[in-house]
Symmetry: C2
Subunit: 303 residues, 2 copies
């Protein structure tokens, strides 16, 4: 199974209003509640595409109970490390007239040293039956910047691939630890390495130690960069839809491919781009258009 | 003690952003969490002004736990009827540049017949030591429109005064049941009786059976209307501040005065207006400016 590790999950709350009017009071129905966080979306996509996924994350406070409830309802196997701080929320307000979403993304609260230890020990134990390890999303405030690098080292000890979706120092440390694949988007990569050129930026991470860097370019598709070259894939025209979760679908694609022994960068970038596009078309983050298998044939690719 | 009954409480969540930008993503700190609902604010004001208050309300789901936690921290004595539906939330997004609050007010979920029975039985039991009964705020969807009228009847059986802050059919039914005091604002009164004239509207409620109608007019102060006349009070100039909870402060003033045997409408409208103004100046709903006792001397009154 693919083990996803999410140290900073969120409860995603989605409110719908006819029109968002700043400064005014809006009567609203109860929000849609969904266990969120990038690793949870990765696990949902792995499960939808017929793979086995396991969610390792944290839960605290009353919002942690909501996370646990929704995760249980999803049927995804999971282990939640109990933490003292309440699980953060992410509030989305969908304006049904404008078709836009206004988002309040809580930073989250830090974990205690004992809670980090419990998360590490659970990752060690759950890596034993795993076929790949995924570390996704922001780290909570005060986190060790090497947390994802530790996951990479754990995967290497077990002889299984690792995929990290992060930015900044945690991404750089994961590269130095020898991550098999990194998936920053263009902006995260530029912030991490200080270069606006995605190929040059990816090569900095490869030099640091990463095996493959997949850079998501939004409507322009994706680049896969290795020591051997650069491969790209995109759809012939941009898709309308919900880009939240598109990167998580790409991570799910890479992790399942690497776990199955697929190493060809051209195949990896195609699958990642296809699943990512299928995620844009699906209404919720962590879901693909059920016709996702048809997207690969439509791609424009270069190598 | 003053018994406040709140069938549709809320967890008030307040986020702060530098500037609210519709359609954009905002990184935010965890929200301030406060047990809300009009009756809870009334009880807080009663307690702040040296009176004894008791909160009877409901709590359900993870959000109900947050409500219970904050209520316990407040030190207010309370009884929470456990209900299946999660307690609703009210989300406020404070724009620190514009100085405005954008509010999402959840409608709330209905109670089962057994939950209504439990709430009624608790009210019967808690009315025994009470010196007044207050029913405040919206009723949850599907509620019996006579719920506040039943509270009025209960207070009459116990020989103690009742104060109801509601609108629409629940307000009209409370008048017909002989409520000692009703406190709609101008808009709620107009919606209930179909007249834009607050004195004429108040007289419809008096004819229906109410003893006194206190109409809050925002910056124009308040009117008290009885079968004997009309009394008004206002500050010489409007106050800047947070009007949320100003009406609850007025209800607290009326309930404590009636419980103490004060029946003079001129005294009642003065105290209600003074406390209401002191609530506008205080930062949080359910609190008064600590100098609230000085506000009465500044009022402009008519009779």
């Amino acid at each position: 199974m693919i083990l996803t590790v999410t140290p900073n999950p969120a409860v995603d709350l989605t409110y719908r209003v006819a029109a968002l009017e700043p400064g005014e009071t809006h009567r609203v129905a109860a929000p849609a509640v969904r266990a969120g966080g990038k690793g949870l979306n990765v696990a949902r996509v792995v499960a939808q595409t017929g793979g086995a996924a396991f969610v390792l994350t944290t839960a605290g406070g009353p919002s942690g109970l909501r996370l646990a409830d929704d995760l249980e309802a999803s049927g995804l196997p999971s282990e939640l490390i109990p933490v003292a701080a309440p699980t953060r929320s992410s509030v989305a307000i969908v304006d049904e007239t404008a078709g836009t979403a206004t988002i309040l993304n809580e930073t989250g609260a830090g974990l205690s040293p004992a809670e980090w230890t419990a998360l590490r020990e659970a990752a060690e134990r759950l890596a034993v039956p795993a076929t790949a390890v995924v570390g996704s999303g922001s780290l909570p405030p005060g986190a060790p910047e090497t947390f994802y690098a530790e996951l990479v080292a754990l995967a290497r000890r077990r002889g299984i691939p690792s995929v990290i979706d992060a930015s900044g120092l945690p991404l750089l440390a994961a590269a130095e630890a020898g991550a098999d694949a990194l998936k920053p988007n263009r902006r995260e990569l530029a912030e991490t390495v200080g270069s606006d050129d995605p190929v040059a930026g990816a090569r900095i991470l490869l030099t640091a130690g990463a095996g493959l860097v997949l850079v998501s370019l939004g409507a322009d598709g994706m680049l896969a960069v290795t020591g051997d070259g650069v491969w790209s894939a995109r759809l012939p025209a941009p898709l309308a839809g919900n880009a939240t979760g598109a990167g998580d679908a790409a991570v799910a694609a890479i992790a399942t491919a690497l776990a199955a022994g697929v190493a060809d960068p051209a195949a990896l970038v195609r699958r990642a781009t296809a699943w990512s596009a299928a995620a844009v078309v699906a209404p919720l983050a962590g879901e693909l258009d059920p016709a996702y298998e048809g997207y690969e044939a439509r791609l424009v690719t270069t190598s």
